[in-house]
């Protein structure tokens, strides 16, 4: 089961935060096809947001085809968002964590690491402009 959180100071509308967290959970393999999402009541009791916020998030995800509401049963995961199979993210995340460890050991701070990542992404996009479209 997914545990939502809503950051009131993030500037991202609360409903969008919920949408992003479901998509993220699907990509990371935390949620699988057929899994049940918490009810609107469960979400609002846990994170104290307006019920309409949760309904709006679930409607958006349903329109995307990722989840479906089954009458009298609840809301379930219907399919995964387009992109690499679940597990890919966590595998890449692990190798990135190793790389970050190396960078730290070499004396790079967070800002230096972030700018190196940006420069590398930009260079990769220039080398192959179509691949970035797919990722985005």
């Amino acid at each position: 089961m997914i545990a939502f959180r809503v950051d009131g100071r993030s500037g991202v509308p609360p409903y969008l935060q919920l949408v992003q967290q479901v998509r993220q959970a699907l990509r990371m393999g935390v949620l699988k096809i057929g899994d049940q999402l918490p009810t609107v009541r469960e979400v609002v009791a846990a994170v104290a947001v307006n019920p309409n916020t949760v309904l709006k998030a679930y409607r958006d995800l349903e329109r995307e085809g990722l989840i479906e509401a089954r009458a009298g049963q609840g809301t379930f995961v219907r399919q995964l968002p387009p992109g690499p199979p679940p597990g890919t993210h966590s595998r890449l995340g692990r190798s990135l964590a190793r790389w970050v460890g190396e960078a730290r050991a070499a004396g790079l701070d967070d800002e230096a690491i972030a700018s190196l990542l940006q420069v590398t992404l930009r260079a990769a996009n220039e080398a192959n402009p179509f691949s970035s479209e797919e990722i985005a």
Binding site: V6, G8, R9, G11, P14, V40, R41, V44, A45, A46, V47, A48, V49, N50, P51, N52, T53
Partner: protein, 300 residues
């Protein structure tokens, strides 16, 4: 769209003081409505008139289609929780639940017990010995046991710590979800970040008058912050309304109510938060000043 609450030029004057002037509001059924404004703006006066505890000097109010009054037929549908959380400190939550069964036509004692048990609030301890958060939960559970269709809450979370506030608001939003669109809430508070999470409707009072009333998302979309050089704004003001302006010798930050697109390229246009909106209409100079006031709980 059914209106749960509607007032028309509602006013309340005491001998010399005007507490509320020409207040016309509409709250659709099923909304959680934030009631905001500085101290003395008339929030408590409005809530007490809606609850039938105070007679208006002029104007009319309609709650669930009826005129607010001290009469069981009206009060059965309305829950009101006053700022001071009125409970008998020597009695337990269970005592209160049993007493409520005798005093109310409709009374869901089981839901009150379940609600409090799920929050680990002891039913058998004197209410005076509970924490502030637990007492507020007892009061809310009792108010909800009436199964009201309109719930009026006057700064119920002002005295609570952040965790207790979160739990209180979670109970409230869950009750609204349970009611499936048939419970309307008006909640006054100074804690704008809380209100931004839970509310979808807004009433902003200032200087005894209604400054804004409407759907929260609509109101936010109708207002923008313009950031740009300090210059004459008379052209801008031909189309838009400047609600509040902060000017330094070189720069200006203008909160405007849109009436069409902004075409002046000198300005950067930013979306605003509920806090920006409230502060703008209250005419505060700097958000920090207000944040400080709310942090120390200015009503306490």
């Amino acid at each position: 769209m059914n209106l749960a609450i509607e007032t028309n030029e509602l006013s309340k004057r005491y001998r010399r003081v005007t507490a509320l002037s020409d207040c016309s509001i509409a709250v659709p059924e099923g909304r959680i409505c934030a009631l905001v404004g500085p101290n003395g703006a008339g929030k408590t006066t409005l809530l007490r008139m809606l609850a039938g505890l105070l007679k208006p000097t002029a104007g009319t109010a309609s709650v669930l289609g009826g005129v607010p009054r001290q009469d069981p037929a009206f009060l059965g549908g309305v829950g009101f929780l006053a700022q001071e959380i009125p409970l008998y400190r020597g009695l337990t939550a269970e005592d209160h639940i049993r007493a409520g069964a005798h005093l109310n036509r409709r009374w869901d004692a089981a839901s009150a017990r379940t609600r409090l048990a799920s929050l680990s609030v002891p039913l058998d301890r004197a209410v005076g010995k509970l924490s502030g958060g637990q007492r507020a939960q007892v009061a809310l559970a009792l108010t909800l046991a009436k199964q009201p269709r309109v719930l009026l809450l006057d700064e119920p979370v002002a005295a609570l710590d952040p965790l207790a506030r979160r739990h209180f608001l979670g109970t409230l939003t869950a009750a609204v979800a349970d009611a499936g669109g048939e419970l309307t809430v008006v909640l006054s508070s100074h804690l704008i970040v809380d209100l931004e999470r839970v509310s979808d409707h807004l009433i902003l009072l200032s200087k005894s008058r209604v400054q804004l009333c409407g759907d929260a998302d609509d109101l936010l979309a109708e207002h923008k912050m313009l950031v740009g050089p300090r210059k004459d704004t008379s052209v801008l003001e031909r189309t838009h309304t400047v609600v509040h302006a902060v000017r330094t010798p070189r720069q200006a930050r203008l909160l405007i109510r849109l009436n069409g697109p902004v075409i002046d390229p000198a300005y950067e246009i930013e979306d605003i938060s509920l806090e920006d909106l409230v502060l703008g209409y209250m005419g505060a100079d700097a958000p920090e000043a207000y944040a400080h006031l709310t942090a120390v709980g200015e009503d306490q």
